[in-house]
Symmetry: C2
Subunit: 432 residues, 2 copies
């Protein structure tokens, strides 16, 4: 690659998620050269990934090409490459093909789902962090019903129609609601040899309550909404084992071919790259200005960072990452232009939202807390506003309206790798 | 599967393409039980598949769940299964798991692309018949530009940016136009180390002219439109070889990493299942009523059939398949209800359409023949009308309008199988 003749400081951003993209955009007019490196060519709007997994939206609806997002920033280039390490002494980012030198480095590589040391569970369950995760889950969900139509044995059919979500956080709750509606409403009437409404959807949470990040009374309302949709919520049910037969939790075995893991995440390998001190989730411990100790030109943000506020680590949510991205961009711009340090990063929590099914949501805006249709409406508005690109907004809004009015799902699509020959003939596990 | 207690004749339809789905719908009110068997869970609107391959539309936009299409037909069941053969004597369709007995059988399994005995070419080029084909081509197209951004060697970059379409039929012509617009318009400005407008798009045709199915003067207009879009059209250039370096055609070698094959198709293996007489393309030779000789209750339609009209075989296009599907449904309904035979199948050719780029099309409606924006508009209207489902129509229309007005592409998404680790690091061939 023709090396740019750089007179200006070079900012390298690894990862084009919420944090990295905000940083890149905020540096668009700064007197620096910016290089955004991502293994994918697109930014992914993860909060709606569960809607791809449940056949509401298509992957492209919640993705935006990184190049298109920063096209008009002439100081910004995008490299699609896999970062394998960082050379802190030489100030270089290492990819498979080359080393890219930096003056300032922003690590925003996010997190992956984690089985808390039980990686073998990954063979029998799926996490939900990438588009491939989402389309695999979509395929398994839809194939389970197809296989049930062909399954004469009632017990085996029951296992096919039992969907277990591990983890009572927002993702688990939203997935459970969406799967319940898929089974009990969308697919009702589509089969001749069984009734999809027989399907069981279980939500397992190890703690005594779901949605621990929300106030008790809102979580309670969400649980009632889930129950109303036909989801069995089991709290204080830590998972002991996941195998080809299903899940063992709270002492009992739940036969299931469809286990979805939303219980835990661990940060990207950035901690190893930087040889830095990390927390239990593998997140890099950073200083109050989000830099790596002893490396004031290396920033770590978003799910990859363990940043403390009032002694407590900030949650791994999009708003934190976005605010951190804008903050580090501001810090860098001020340093380059010789302005004074803006002071330590402070997260302003604008509140949290979660949705259960097609018309119920909970909103915790600090003083203002409410649940119901109004919560769902706020959830919808906020997500549409933050979704990148007018086109995607219109497409998603239309498809939501369509799904809302007709109970249809637009993306009921089972696709296979070129290698896979036949659909229902192969064990569903293999399709993960 | 709980066998249905059938008092009524059982019609088994293999394949839910244009022909099979038309037959199923036409039998919805007939006094028969209908079973539709397909390896996929969705009907695919193949005429727009090239728009998935060129990042205009998402796979789900041109797909409809078969179950949803026939949901209201209580006499119709859908089985997602892979048919492996037919037992004509026992009147049974054989799938991996079971045999399904029929009183009437409709084979509508379509065609696959064919390399005319050069299957080894498949390793270095891709056909366009399935959604997996389309997303693979999309991935390769987009990755070629990503790799070019990282490629210092001008010769290698030139090979990455050379796109060769083999076959001057409608698919090749429409793909060429769409790729030219992607390279010269959509991606212009998205890269910093090369100009996507350097890209070469070649359309190779073995015959002396493209679009042989169209009148000479319309094909000429289409060729001018392609040239205007920057496509190099080479007629009388039969392909001699396709390998990892590119294509050898008309004596010369064309270095290219992106070869797309639209030159030939061969029918599904139905001919072997039926142990029937087939033509050179593997299509089953059927009688004037579309039945298999000696088997008046076995029908073969669409791309799988070689049906003669005025001594000439009918073309493998959607209108033929749809009219044949309705015809065989009519024949079966009449037999079951004791009405008289409707007479041999006659194809009514309503005309042919092809489009070049975003605002030019050709239309051959027999007496009425025209080219230009009007041809494109007619193409658009016809395709929207035949696209199944109001939702898909709105989504596709909106995305076309968006692409037309902004020159953006909505589905610029590179996705990988869970196995694939890193994007640009692996040879593009492997991503096929």
């Amino acid at each position: 690659m023709k090396a740019l003749q750089r007179k200006r400081p070079h900012v390298v951003i690894v990862g084009a998620g919420f944090g990295g993209l905000q940083a890149a955009r905020a540096l668009g007019k700064a007197p620096v050269d910016v290089t955004v490196i991502d293994r994918n060519n697109h930014h992914l709007f993860q909060p709606l990934l569960y809607q791809v997994a449940t056949a509401v939206l298509s992957p492209a609806d919640i993705s935006a090409p990184i190049r298109a997002v920063v096209r008009r920033q002439r100081n910004t280039e995008v490299l699609m490459a896999e970062v394998t390490g960082v050379d802190l002494e030489r100030q270089e980012v290492i990819t498979h093909e080359r080393r890219i030198s930096y003056d300032y480095l922003i690590i925003a590589t996010g997190a992956a789902h984690s089985y808390f040391g039980h990686d073998e569970w990954g063979a029998y369950s799926s996490g939900l962090k990438t588009i491939v995760n989402a389309t695999s889950i979509r395929r398994r969900l839809l194939l389970a019903f197809e296989a049930a139509e062909l399954e004469p044995d009632p017990e085996k059919r029951r296992a096919l129609l039992t969907f277990v979500l591990v983890g009572g956080g927002p993702t688990g709750v939203e997935m459970a609601g969406a799967i319940a509606e898929l089974a009990h409403k969308v697919l009702a009437g589509d089969f001749r040899h069984f009734d999809p409404r027989e399907s069981r959807i279980l939500l397992l949470e190890a703690l005594p309550r779901i949605l621990p990040a929300f106030p008790e009374h809102l979580a309670q309302r969400a649980q009632e909404a889930l129950t109303h949709l036909g989801v069995e919520v089991r709290t204080s049910s830590p998972v002991e084992k996941i195998d080809e037969e299903g899940v063992i939790a709270g002492g009992g075995r739940i036969p299931s071919h469809n286990v979805i893991w939303t219980a835990g995440v661990s940060a990207s390998p950035a901690g190893k790259w930087l040889n830095a001190e990390v927390d239990r989730a593998g997140r890099v411990k950073v200083l109050a200005n989000l830099t790596l100790p002893d490396y004031p030109n290396v920033f770590v943000i978003g799910d990859t960072a363990c940043a403390l506020q009032k002694g407590k680590p900030l949650p791994g949510v999009a708003p934190v990452a976005m605010q951190q991205g804008r903050y580090v961009a501001d810090v860098i711009r001020r340093r380059v232009t010789g302005q004074r340090f803006p002071g330590p990063f402070r997260y302003r929590n604008k509140g949290s939202l979660a949705t259960v099914g097609r018309s119920f949501g909970i909103a915790d805006l600090g003083k203002l807390q409410f649940a119901g249709f109004s919560g769902w409406l706020l959830w919808l508005i906020v997500h549409i506003i933050y979704l990148i690109g007018f086109r995607n907004r219109v497409l998603v809004l239309f498809q939501w309206a369509w799904a809302f009015l007709t109970f249809e799902r637009g993306a009921r699509l089972i696709t296979f790798e070129s290698t896979a020959k036949s659909p229902v003939d192969e064990p569903i596990e293999e399709l993960l």
